[in-house]
């Protein structure tokens, strides 16, 4: 290993994930963090910490110069961008290369070709790969965009040209709302990615979201590491992902895998990436390539027994080469649930606050990726995803049962979470059958959850618990004033 010290240009659970991989490889870590993340779990776990700016992302996590200067000041020799923020920013990859820092990911050239969705489409077209009809022109005026919406035919989706992960995406179902939706997408795109450029695409209304993990080793050899299904999405943000997809026949899996490897090959891809498809009526369309590690990478790791982050680091170090025996067949089934700080009974309203008890029920093949612990504060500055829960089991039905149990046994106090929402989705017939499409949430869970508890009984119980709690702490006056009273009986 030539690399010694890795800078992490990210936060939250992914920063923690990268730190763990570095520790296992004997590498030192430098966390490049904002003012607001001082003291976060990643901050506590990393070897060195450099504050790169104030809380707003544009002045810290999206600030290329500040990240480069921070990494150099700490004496890092490589930068891992995680996902989101600068991970798919070709300028950042190039700035790293120029500053003599290894960018842990594909080359800036490959990011430019694939990460920019417009040039990606041109590349896919020239390779003869299947795409969805749309508009990706430079004329970004509202009248032009409106004309194109009509030409493509409703429903049409508006996407941030520089985006990913659902940020800045809006759906147009009727012409009357087209202008509002386009403008709203432009604002979100500007805020999340610094560029308000958008493109348009025909919206497939009963499609499944299937994606293939691809990986290019140090020598440029590319393999796919099979598929994931992420059809459970709300406002184009994934909520539950699984590997492998319950929807693919062997034949489709082989064909889509070949397309995924082809697009990566024509872009000279190295490191981890994801080729996303929509599948409708047994026909598949290339959606985009995410030129980075994916939030849902753990489900692939679980069914294949690989460590994608280590593979990325070793590839950047020029010391990862695929071996024939590395090409495995997926085993069993893995599911990931994203835990968001939001109130499912108030239609997913973001929830902020100081975390109290955080308890994850450890057990065989249960994996908890979390960036925040008891005492940490969840603020409104950043993404509401606070943790991921991943399980593996022999079969899909058993993995679903296991996930429901694990979520029920997980405890987070201090912010509301979407855990009840996740359990409701996992218990839904259509999810259990595996027939859900990307409109599953819209169909069945559009307004979040209805609370059906008995309010009077719940309040009575709460008052009784409160009395217990206060009595318990009356002898210790000083402690009684702390906001950290804890009450545990049994369990």
């Amino acid at each position: 290993m030539k690399l010694k010290k890795i800078a992490i240009a990210n936060r939250g659970e992914v920063a923690v994930r990268i730190i763990k991989a570095c520790e296992e490889l004997g590498l030192q870590t430098v966390l490049l963090h904002s003012d607001a993340d001082r003291g976060s779990r990643a901050f506590r776990m990393s070897d060195f910490q450099i504050c790169i700016g104030p809380a707003p992302t544009s002045e810290s996590y999206l600030n290329i110069e500040a990240n480069i200067q921070g990494a150099l000041a700490a004496g890092a020799d490589a930068v891992h961008p995680g996902f989101g923020f600068l991970s798919e920013n070709a300028d950042f990859a190039l700035a790293c290369e120029k500053a003599g820092l290894k960018f842990i990911g594909p080359s800036s050239e490959a990011i430019r070709k694939l990460g920019n969705k417009i040039s990606f489409k041109r590349l896919a077209q020239s390779a003869g790969l299947p795409l969805i009809p749309g508009y990706e022109g430079d004329d970004q005026s509202i009248p032009k965009l409106l004309t194109e919406v009509e030409k493509i035919g409703l429903p049409v989706i508006v996407k941030a040209a520089a985006g990913g992960g659902g940020r800045g995406m809006k759906l147009i179902r009727e012409m009357t709302e087209a202008k509002d939706q386009i403008e709203s997408a432009q604002r979100e795109a500007k805020s999340a990615f610094g560029s308000e450029k958008v493109f348009l695409e025909k919206y497939l209304d009963r499609a499944k979201h299937i994606e293939f993990q691809i990986f290019g080793d140090s020598t440029g050899k590319i393999h796919h590491l099979f598929d994931r299904e992420c059809s459970v999405q709300r406002r184009h943000q994934k909520i539950i992902e699984e590997a492998t997809s319950p929807s693919l026949t062997d034949d489709l899996r082989r064909q889509m895998g070949e397309v995924a490897v082809t697009i990566a090959t024509v872009a000279n891809y190295k490191s981890a990436g994801t080729v996303e498809f929509l599948l409708q009526d047994n026909k598949f369309y290339l959606l985009e390539v995410n030129t980075r590690l994916q939030v849902e990478h753990p489900v692939t790791e679980e069914v294949l027994g690989v460590d994608l982050v280590k593979m990325q680091i070793l590839t950047a170090d020029n010391s990862f080469v695929f071996d024939a025996k590395d090409i495995r067949i997926p085993k069993g089934h893995s599911i990931e649930c994203r835990v968001y700080a939001e109130n499912p009974y108030m239609n997913g309203m973001p929830s902020t606050g100081k975390l109290g008890t955080v308890h994850w029920p450890e057990g065989p093949r249960r994996r908890f990726e979390f960036g925040f612990d008891s005492g940490d504060v969840i603020t409104s500055h950043y993404d509401p995803m606070i943790a991921k829960v991943i399980v593996w089991d022999e079969t899909r039905p058993r993995a679903i049962e296991k996930m429901i149990r694990v979520l029920k046994d997980s405890t987070i106090f201090g912010v509301h979470t979407n855990i009840p929402y996740l359990i409701a989705i996992l218990s839904h017939d259509e999810f259990i059958k595996g027939t859900m499409t990307t409109r599953f949430i819209e169909h069945y869970f559009a307004d979040g959850l209805k609370s059906n508890h008995d309010e009077i009984n719940r309040k009575k119980l709460s008052q009784e618990i409160y009395k217990n709690l206060v009595q318990k702490f009356v002898p210790q006056q000083t402690e009684a004033q702390s906001p950290w009273l804890t009450f545990w009986r049994g369990v």
């Binding site: 604002r187 805020s191 975390l355 709460s462 409160y466 709690l469 906001p483 009273l485 009450f487 049994g490």
Partner: protein, 122 residues
Amino acid sequence: MSDLNKTQAEIIDQKIWIKSEGEIWCYDLIDVASDGQRRKKTNSASPNLITAPMPGKITKVFVKSGDLVTKGQPLLVMEAMKMEYTLKSDLETTVEKINVELNQQVTLGFLMVELKKADVNV
């Protein structure tokens, strides 16, 4: 009544968080500390006062004071955690006062827009 032995609770910043039988909920301390006493919820009682449902930033203001608004008409857009929320009028009335401006950061519960109380029969 649930089994207290399987219940877990914690007080954090003037709220009590409780987990019982796999469900988690929370109450403001003031609501459980004394029986019978109920706080007046200003929000639901006064649909003419538009308060911030979450901390965040104002990204668009559609109306100004004196404007006529209809039921369901967007008043302003807030952004928090990079998500957009549009606040709409529940009434058909006039805008009395706007207490926020573009790009302003607001705290939870901040009184952002004051509408004229609707006439009984509009």
